[in-house]
């Protein structure tokens, strides 16, 4: 019984250029892998923000650098300190003496209250030049910044 192939093929071989192209792409892949053996991935779970689809870091950095005045002007571009104290490690509590009482009274949201500066709970604390960002930033924006700051080691 003769069975015809429904779609015939002109040839079974692989042209040399096709084999060469395949080897070339495999080599490019190998070279790329060799150059990217080490590194660290960003977190997959990102907090959504008003501009949509940003990671927490992207959204927070946008607010930090866009605030008037910018947070980095006093705390440094990497937030490790400048005219103001370092903002790294605030997940473990405040470093400044003037905020210890606030942190013990409001352990969950003391950074939010301090950055906003508009709540009666911080009215009697010497702000040492820290602006009241509650007049220019929304509560959500401040919360985004605080959440990001808590991730800094």
């Amino acid at each position: 019984m003769t069975v015809h192939t429904p779609i015939s093929t002109r040839g079974r071989g692989i042209p040399a250029w096709a084999a060469g192209l395949t080897v070339l792409v495999l080599l490019v892949g190998g070279v790329y892998l060799a150059g990217n053996l080490t590194g660290e991935n960003p977190p997959i779970i990102a907090e959504p923000s008003a501009s949509g689809g940003q990671t927490l870091e992207q959204a927070a950095r946008q607010i930090i650098e866009g605030a008037q005045p910018s947070c980095t002007a006093c705390h440094g571009t990497d937030l490790t300190g400048g005219a103001g104290p370092s903002l790294h490690g605030i997940a473990n509590g405040p470093k400044s003496e003037n905020l210890q009482q606030l942190a013990s009274d409001h352990p969950d949201d003391w950074p939010n209250l301090w950055i906003a500066g508009t709540d009666p709970a911080v009215a009697d604390i010497d702000r040492l030049g820290m602006p009241q960002f509650g007049t220019t930033l929304t509560e959500e924006q401040i919360a985004t910044v605080v959440e990001y700051l808590k991730t800094l080691p």
Partner: protein, 535 residues
């Protein structure tokens, strides 16, 4: 007789009206004078079974519904773009107090609408078109009747009811989950898996019963179907595994990317490997290149899915290996496009007129474009710039609404007259479908990719959110226009299908409806129609 002469003769062949027995599928030749027929000489009227089992009945159902879903996809896509431009105007969430059910929350947000858009595109449009392609092509490349045709037909109901219900619950945050493939609740996942199993069963039983080594399209279909079944099963079972949020998000990302590379890209390539030789009436230029493309695709597609595992808990080497897989996908894309372009050799004039060849050529261009875009997006420096921006959706658009969509259009243009047994010359609607879809997919993809680059750059420069939103709005308006054009293409496709069925002259095409015992008669069983033109 030379091929051109044969086609010209067929073009001039006068139309011979079919007698009603032939139209009803009863091909008995009446050797008597019909005027002398007495009532009891007439054959009994054909009985239509409750579940159609005629050749191509399931493929026809999937094809028609796929175009309906394309129109729905375009509608949801327009809403998504509008929500990006006017988020405050269109975003809302309400709680309804209903008897028996209690509180029902409905949420219309950019995230829920985007999930609806991608789910409608993948599960509604692409998957229905892919099922139609598999069920239409498989019997023709194997030369045997499709097994389990009624089961495959029942799968239409399960799959499409599932997709429709799933798209409804996307907007019910209390019920839906996170992630594309696991967004639907378990009962809906069950329906979708039933539909998927029905098509898998029909395909594999037909393939395993065949007595010839399958053509390369069947290899793409086989891996694509199994991968889709496996990945969807994993995704739908995620809520049962009790994993933490990070692990769930990682598995979701893995299954989503796997469905793109194995299912969307694989079925597009398998379909093009069938359509191009058929429409050009040329043999495939190189079987070896086709199989090499399949082998590389099967390996690189899996690796590429691993590249979606981006989290500090995953060693970077694993992610980098996945990115290499995405880069390597360029190779099978180039090989497939090259061998199919070589197959078109000598028949290039076909692409000058809107029709199957033109659709296939545009699909091949999008295959190359999408694979290159994905490969560029897999580079580390580019990833750092465009991560979590519109870039990803732009690359997805070129693959799904470009390559896979045009492959489906090519299949529909070739297969619809054969499925409906009609003779149908190309009409201006085909030109409208071609150009509106081409401009739509190209514009949408370019606009979203451009938006991704600009978005990433603005964030890197520390631009305030207002500036980012205002800048991106221009790109999104262009994307909205592109999606609108795709909607027009969907309508043109639907109207074409309707006109083929209602206005096309009945024609007899050779169909694979004989049992396997009579399959090998030495006749190309998929070749020219008996009374219609073209192959």
């Amino acid at each position: 007789m030379p091929r051109t002469a044969r086609r010209a003769t067929a073009d001039r062949a006068p139309y011979v009206p079919q007698d009603r027995y032939v139209q009803e599928g009863l091909r008995a030749q009446m050797a008597v004078n019909p005027k002398k027929l007495r009532p009891y000489d007439e054959p009994p009227p054909a009985r239509r079974p409750l579940i159609p089992d005629a050749p191509d009945s399931a493929a026809t159902g999937y094809l028609v519904l796929s175009f309906v879903w394309l129109a729905v996809t375009a509608g949801i896509g327009l809403l998504w773009v509008a929500m990006q431009v006017f988020p405050d105007l269109l975003t809302f969430a309400i709680d309804l107090q209903l008897p028996l059910i209690g509180t029902l929350s409905i949420e219309l947000s950019p995230i829920s609408v985007q999930t609806g858009f991608t789910a409608a595109a993948i599960f509604g449009w692409i998957s229905n078109a892919a099922f139609a392609a598999i069920l239409f092509i498989t019997p023709r490349i194997l030369g045997e009747r499709l097994r389990l045709e009624p089961i495959a037909w029942l799968g239409i109901g399960a799959w499409n009811v599932g997709v429709a219900a799933g798209l409804a619950v996307v907007y019910l945050p209390n019920i839906s989950q996170a992630g594309l493939a696991s967004v639907f609740p378990l009962p809906i996942d069950g329906l979708l898996l039933l539909g998927l199993l029905a098509v898998n069963g029909a395909f594999w039983l037909t393939l395993l019963g065949a007595r010839r080594l399958p053509y390369v399209s069947a290899w793409f279909f086989g891996v694509g179907l199994l991968a889709f079944l496996g990945l969807y099963t994993i995704a739908s079972g995620l809520p049962l595994l009790g994993l933490d949020d990070t692990a769930t998000a990682l598995l979701n990302a893995f299954t989503e990317r796997g469905i793109e590379t194995y299912w969307v890209l694989g079925i597009a390539l398998g379909t093009l490997f069938y359509v191009v030789p058929r429409v050009t009436v040329n043999p495939l230029a190189s079987g070896g290149m086709g199989m090499l493309a399949w082998l590389l695709w099967a390996g690189a597609a899996g690796l590429s899915a691993i590249g979606a595992l981006v989290d500090p808990s995953v060693p970077y080497l694993i992610t980098a290996l996945g990115n290499v897989g995405t880069i390597l996908l360029v190779a099978p894309a180039f090989l497939a496009v090259a061998v199919l372009a070589m197959t078109m050799s000598g028949r290039w004039t076909l692409v000058l007129a809107p029709g199957t060849a033109a659709f296939a050529l545009v699909a091949l261009a999008f295959v190359i474009g999408a694979s290159l875009l994905d490969a560029i997006g897999a580079l580390r420096s580019v990833q750092d710039l465009v991560r979590n921006t519109e870039w990803r959706l732009g690359a997805w658009t070129w693959l799904t609404l470009g390559a896979a969509t045009f492959a489906a259009f090519a299949l529909a243009d070739h297969a619809a007259p054969r499925m409906m047994r009609r003779n149908w010359p190309e009409s201006p609607l085909a030109a409208a479908q071609l150009w509106s879809a081409f401009l739509g997919a190209a514009l949408t993809g370019l606009a979203l990719v451009g938006a991704g680059i600009v978005h990433g750059s603005l964030i890197a420069d520390g631009a305030p959110p207002e500036e980012v939103s205002a800048t991106l709005a221009w790109f999104l308006v262009v994307a909205a226009g592109g999606i609108g054009l795709l909607g027009l293409a969907a309508i043109a496709g639907l109207v074409t299908l309707f006109l083929i069925y209602t206005s096309g002259r009945p024609a007899e095409y050779v169909v694979v409806d004989a049992p396997p015992a009579t399959a090998g008669t030495g006749v190309d069983r998929n070749a020219a129609p008996a009374t219609a033109t073209g192959r």
